[in-house]
Assembly symmetry: C2
Homo-oligomer: 198 residues x 2
């Protein structure tokens, strides 16, 4: 809603298009900017411009970075032969929190032929080139088990299999700490199929 | 949490200090900035700087505005003799949505002697000066019925009463459309005390 407040309306509208930001939260943010010291607001504005202008894709793993090669791909302590394929950079953070010590390949989402999104649109060609040009012992497919996720995983697997590389996927099963009583049938079935000897 | 992502971490941290923005939402916003066209990001950054630098308080009602006098106080169609006293600018929007046609006096929050916030800190002195220097027929106290809200309302009333001005306050009672069953005792008591003949 426009309150005839000029600049404030304009800023609220811009905050309002961010994902997960309601009109109410957008206005809270505008009032927060009003209360901010000017240098803090300037720093925020500069960061937005910098992120928008300076971030590019890492030439190895395709995550966003300020440099040609990201800090993860540059890190000598990481196992470069283990590549975790994820559908976007957000998923990288989950692995980083967990302390994963391999490297990544970040796709731009999932295959979606219905929407005209093919392998060349999401970075699968770059993954193939990477596999051919470097020493990789294992590709871990870490894409969520949705219809499009499975299609993407299977497609990548079909490309990598002829190259003789070990391709694994994350285990499906019961979330740790979950109750059997509330587990959905598909997950329970996956847990049963993937059962391990104790 | 810092992911060693440089600029991205810095921006996520800055978004994270906004009210109502969780770490997760802050990161969603960062990724949204990454996907934005550069000119949109620049406009957003400029708006933040403009809001931070150009907004000042209206010399009449103390709401934030780009001009000396805000568009509400300049509006010839509004009833300047009816002044609604509110505790911050957010509350103004509620009245604007409703179609209120008087003008406002915006306080900087509420009296709070425990925190050292006195009448001179929240703009009560300016309200008194305004009442003395202009033709005002009614002051509507529209401050929420909290302990500090009531203290502020009562304090302002005690100052205005000797000046012979009509001071009203918003009615307390049942919210329209509410169910008696779920109404709290204090509100029900207020509704009973303020009962009107049909």
């Amino acid at each position: 809603m426009n309150y005839g407040m000029g600049l404030l309306d304009a800023l609220a509208e811009k905050f309002g298009v961010f994902p997960g930001i309601s009109e109410k939260t957008a206005w809270k943010m505008v009032f927060h900017v009003l209360k901010m010291p000017k240098d803090i607001a300037t720093n925020l504005a500069n960061d937005i411009i910098q992120v928008s202008e300076k971030m590019k894709k890492c030439q190895v793993c395709r995550c966003f970075t300020e440099t040609e090669i990201c800090h993860i791909c540059c890190d000598e302590t990481r196992d470069k032969s283990m590549v975790c394929v994820i559908q976007n950079m957000k998923d990288m953070f989950a692995f980083e929190r967990m302390g994963y010590k391999g490297v990544y390949h970040v796709l731009d989402g999932l295959l979606s032929p219905m929407n005209g999104i093919g392998p060349e649109d999401i970075g699968i060609c770059e993954l193939l080139a990477r596999v051919e040009n470097s020493v990789i012992s294992e590709i871990i497919m870490a894409i969520g088990p949705t219809v499009e996720g499975d299609a993407t995983t299977n497609y990548i697997f079909s490309l990598l299999k002829p190259l003789g590389i070990t391709v694994t996927r994350l285990a499906y099963g019961l979330p740790v700490g979950s109750s059997l009583e509330y587990t959905d049938d598909v997950t329970l079935n996956a847990a049963l199929e993937g059962r391990n000897e104790i």
